[in-house]
Amino acid sequence: MTHAALMGEPTWRDVLENFLHSITTFLRLMARNWVGFIGFLVVIGFVLLALVGPYFVELDLKTNVSQIYQTPSWKHPLGTDHQGRDIWAQIVHGGKDILYVAFLAGLISTLIAVLFGSLSALVGGTVDSIIMTITDIVLTIPQFPLLAVLAGFVRLNSLTLLALLLAVLGWPTLLRAVRSQVLSLKERDYVEAAVALDMGLRHIIFSEILPNMMSYIIISFTLAMTGAIYAQVGLIFLGLVPMSGQNWAVMIQLAWVRGAIFFKDSLYYIMSPVLAIAFFQLGLVSMTRSLEEVFNPRLRAGV
């Protein structure tokens, strides 16, 4: 960055170098915690699988009676299901919906949490107590039954609608965390110095407080995603969301409803989507450990 700044006009080569440099720094920091790094690789792997995979693996959903419940082979890496269809292809094509809903829901609930959590902490007084009362109420109502009941009223047949609903209920724990973080940051010397120097609320929020909360926000976002995946897959599994198309949760639901799970041969059919979701969740949670090191300046300097 200093290099580009000294040269005046940054050329595209500088930009590229900069970019590569920050990528390698990021990876080096991520690799410090090997559990987190493995989690990071798993998450990247699943994202690539879900976004790029479908272009390479063809999905054939025609019933093939001669191929029912095949064990893994070169032709069928994960075997075949109760209709003789390739499971690997279904897994590759089944991640996109889950990831989309998780990402959108996680993003919106993190935004709500950061916005209202910092507002609550910075403004204080009545605003704070109103926000915290609402948060406590939403936090106490068991989320999953409420979602299930709402699914009984609203036909959740669009992924975006489902993500919005999950986001609307998913923010309370994050908001509390953000609020307490801002409350403690508010008391720090450098923030008080900025206040004393009258540097403006915008500067204080965006230059003093937010950068020091990045690790919190990113980790909150990751955890919000895991929460969204939990609720989303649960709702689809119970058949409360009329979801069509190829999707890990739909695979589990079909295997369950059709009783395929109770056949000994169906091991690969039921376990493939179950493990895909379990590993993705595990990856996300472990990744937060590395993210903490990358975004927490104090941890970065020390250890």
Binding site: T140, P142, Q143, V149, S286
Partner: protein, 362 residues
């Protein structure tokens, strides 16, 4: 003598009495505040469900009236009367009065009657199925909480040993995999692949024909049927308790009073239980409140996987069959149970840690 009596009261009156009254006020304040909060939350949930049922575009009462007209060819008025009776709502009254009478009947414990099994009061359905969920969830939570505390302390005392690393890894895995996936794996491996248990026979909350009562056969049967749900609750919540207890124990071990206790030459066992364990377990109680809601909510999924006849299964069935009075009543009861459980957890916590009444209560 006279001078003494006139000058003496000036000091105590000014200082001592307000202090005691302030004390009692703070203590009372904590209980009052905590209970008011619980009641207010229940009130919000009650209102929410009422307006959800009455004001949604395709609200269940309209849907039910239409289905009566379609199915049985009833005239509109008759269908409307029947719907009003079932939902225990006077549809002709203004919405606000409907709301008041709804709350009044709730206070009497009247939750309406089921649409599908006509004439069965929702409250009797709840009374029949709720105890099973409270039993299985409560037992599971109790076992995982106790085991988690013990294992977490072992991890903290044997820091960086093989035991610690293995248990830490296990706890992180268990706390991040969704509970219904663990339940499915139990069905797939224990029931189908290895055939260690008979999944079909374990369904329900007890075997058909079993007479309830305080005898060994019944207790064994109930435990047999609840064993897989309880196992799932234990497996999926223990990780969080272990990790929290570990970090909390480590920080407690560094406290001055522990060092002093060691210096005093107190027996190791007494330090571990009374000085370290008791204090280190405190943060777990704040997590308990979040855990209760999560587990009770998750019982919907766990009970449907094991076909355990609890309140979660009833809620699921009422949602898929559009049995709105049951759905509304069961949702209310589940939420109220969670709120009450939270209140109890908070009360327990404030008993264990008196500081809470002064600090957070204010």
């Amino acid at each position: 003598m006279l001078a003494l009596t006139t000058s003496a009261p000036a000091i105590p009156v000014g200082v001592a009495p307000p202090r005691t009254s302030l004390w009692t006020r703070i203590i009372r304040n904590f209980w009052v505040r905590r209970t008011t909060k619980a009641i207010f939350t229940i009130f919000v949930v009650v209102s929410l469900t009422f307006f959800l049922v009455r004001l949604m575009p395709a609200n269940p009462i309209e849907v039910y009236i239409n289905s009566l007209i379609e199915q049985f060819g009833l005239p509109y008025d008759q269908a409307r009367n029947q719907a009003a009776a079932l939902f225990a709502i006077d549809l002709d009254a203004p919405l606000f009065l409907q709301y008041l009478s709804y709350i009044r009947s709730l206070l009497r414990g009247d939750l309406g009657t089921s649409l599908l099994s006509a004439g069965t009061p929702v409250s009797s359905i709840i009374l029949r199925f709720l105890p099973w969920t409270i039993f299985s969830v409560g037992t599971g939570l109790l076992i995982s909480f106790t085991l988690g505390i013990v294992l977490g302390m072992i991890m903290a005392y044997r820091r960086e040993s093989v035991v610690d690393h293995v248990l830490s890894a296990l706890a992180s895995v268990l706390s991040s995999v969704p509970n219904y996936l663990i339940a499915m794996m139990l069905v797939v491996f224990l029931g189908v692949q290895w055939k260690w248990v008979d999944i079909a026979a374990m369904r329900g909350s007890m075997s058909p024909g079993m007479q309830p009562g305080f005898h060994l056969a019944f207790i064994k049967d109930v435990l047999y049927h609840a064993s897989l749900p309880i196992l799932t609750y234990v497996i999926t919540t223990i990780g969080t308790w272990m990790l929290t207890m570990k970090s909390s124990t480590i920080s407690t071990l560094g406290e001055d009073y522990v060092t002093v206790a060691k210096a005093r030459g107190l027996p190791e066992r007494r330090i571990t239980t009374a000085y370290v364990g008791r204090n280190a377990a405190l943060p777990l109680f704040t997590q308990l409140t979040i855990a209760i809601g999560f587990i009770v909510g998750g019982s919907l999924l766990i009970e449907s996987i094991f076909v355990y006849q609890g309140i979660g299964l009833v809620l699921l069935r009422s949602i898929t069959q559009r049995d709105y009075p049951v759905m509304q009543g069961v949702f209310l009861i589940i939420t109220i149970s969670v709120i009450v459980a939270n209140l109890l957890a908070d009360v327990l916590y404030s008993r264990l840690d008196p500081r809470i009444k002064l600090g957070k209560g204010e």
